[in-house]
Symmetry: C2
Subunit: 352 residues, 2 copies
């Protein structure tokens, strides 16, 4: 007879997953967006050895290694698969590459007609190294650490696909959506389906929770936010939950402002990741009363450290104590962050 | 005996000023942020002849000319002095210049100690061409057109002064504020005083309303927003109104999201300029019930024109009809906007 599994290895007991399911866990579970990244010297070493950034994402042992690096240092409650939101365009057959000092580049979709050249049927095959990395992580993680899979939200991914890279204001995608809403809807619909497929494959490989990043949702009027951000997110959550009702989904509609409340009410998500600007008292009253909230330390306070970091972290702890809550940043960790400041933060959180 | 002044020449009768004072004026008064600018061929011609952008701002007849150009085409209800929010650093003696294709550049303030080198006592002298331009505009405008003076808000201006130019995330200023709040407060205090002085001089020269642009207020946690954005704005409004209680003040805390409500309640402003992301129904219920709202058409809808422009403009008209309202964009007009689309918008508004 097999010995009983230790308590910590039952997914339902993991602090992070308990919080996502609505439990007020204290001290709160914590992870940091972009926790595997350039602020860590060991990441920079692996990255330098890997060559291209895309190679790093698509070589399972390297993706596993960089995912684990911050866990070894800081013992976060969750690991997030090291990957990139542009894996989906890559999986669809769009040419994606990363230029040093420039960032992501894509051969831009020139017109709605180009959408027909995308190959959603080959996504799982093209992205099989990602799923292999998830399986590798699942085997490597401590029993109490949860594993998060993720994807970019359709609008954010579409904006890169149309622009051909990063942009200050994503005007091409916005102009396309206004000028040809039916054509743009075709691209969004394709991305909803591809994203569901991609997330389900991550769950099948071992992801225990999912986060959907809508990094550029904060540029739309409410009407367009509902159509291009909220409704696609709702469809993705529903489709994932139709297959895996127990997998919690976190949405990050960055910059949604007042519309965070509508997302809380209508998206079907289990948790909302709050950007730094979401006011704490409002979030407690309007959001945390409905679901788990995650966030929202200013990454600049983590760069600065010291008293400013303590003060900002304590305000967040005070606001969200007593309800379902995951401590995180309001945006990805900056590459100039001293790792010692993350240690300072972790010490504060453990003593909360 | 002098003949009676025509009705339209009494400031109190101007549509724009009536709306700012709380009256539901219909069809609504309209002006567009950055209405004098690169989307107009006549602006590009004047700009090319002027040489440097700073020369354009500081040569009164040229500043008057470009201010009037969009008025001649579109007959907006208000003219806004053609100038730049970096006039205040220039007036304080900081080196400011504009690089073609790069944007504004400043010799950055290296440390809190550098604040002592600024010369607020010389601001009015250094900026006298600005006030001369206001006087020139006052004489040149149609009697029914209101004249808006403006300044950047302290945080936004400080962010440029510290960064030395534009930046995606203004990390230097944010890090300074977190790391040395007392030193940063010294800079903000100086900018509050300089901004009050600058705005009062514009009113003395003939400005009939004032707008304060906090273009980068949407990056702070609530605590820092209150300290670095809301409180400085409140002090400026109070100081201006202590001298000129009848001059309406519009605040534009771009990206303030949920905190727009606190600004409406606590700043003392007469009107709030809404960025594109502020949801219309929420703004009507929470903001327009307290003061005049201005906004908030997506500038990308104006670039696109056609049915998308009509639809977005109509949604805004429907939302704000019946209360105090000024039609405007949610952000400055883009340089790629076809002037014909502004005509389309004006025809729609006149028929509202």
């Amino acid at each position: 007879m097999a010995p009983p599994r230790p308590v910590g290895s039952r997914p339902a007991d993991k602090k992070f997953l308990r919080a996502l399911r609505g439990e007020a866990v204290w001290p709160p579970p914590v992870w940091l967006m972009r926790q595997a990244g350039r602020y860590l010297p060991e990441y920079r070493a692996t990255r330098a050895a890997a060559g291209d950034f895309l190679d790093l994402c698509l070589t399972p042992e390297l993706a596993v290694e960089v995912t684990l690096q911050p866990l070894r240092r800081f013992g976060f409650d969750a690991a997030i698969l090291f990957s990139d939101i542009l894996m989906v365009p890559h999986g669809l057959g769009q040419k994606v590459w990363f230029e040093e000092g420039v960032g992501p580049r894509l051969e831009p979709l020139a017109s709605p007609a180009a959408v027909a050249t995308l190959e959603p049927q080959r996504l799982r095959e093209r992205l099989s190294p990602v799923f292999e990395a998830v399986r590798g992580l699942k085997a490597a993680l401590l029993a109490e650490t949860a594993l998060i899979g993720f994807a970019g939200a359709p609008w954010t991914v579409a904006s890169y696909m149309i622009e051909g890279g990063s942009s200050r204001d994503f005007q091409k995608g916005r102009a396309w959506a206004y000028g040809d809403p039916e054509g743009f809807q075709g691209l969004i619909d394709l991305l909803v389906e591809a994203t569901v497929d991609y997330l389900l494959a991550q769950v099948e490989a071992g992801a225990e929770a999912l986060q959907i990043f809508d990094s550029w949702s904060g540029i739309w009027p409410d009407s367009e936010f509902r159509r291009w951000c909220l409704e696609p997110a709702r469809r993705i959550v529903a489709a994932v939950k139709a297959v895996h009702p127990d997998i919690p989904v976190i949405l990050f509609p960055r910059g949604a402002g007042v519309l965070y409340r509508e997302v809380a009410e209508e998206s079907g998500a289990d948790a909302l990741s709050l950007d730094t600007t979401v006011p704490l008292d409002w979030a407690r009253a309007e959001l945390q009363s409905r679901l788990c909230v995650q966030g929202n330390l200013d990454p600049v306070a983590l760069i600065v450290g010291g008293a400013a970091l303590d003060r900002q972290a304590r305000r967040i702890l005070e606001a969200f104590r007593g309800g379902p809550f995951v401590f995180n940043l309001g945006h990805g960790i900056d590459k100039t962050t001293p790792p010692g400041h993350v240690e300072q933060l972790m010490a504060l959180l453990r003593a909360a």
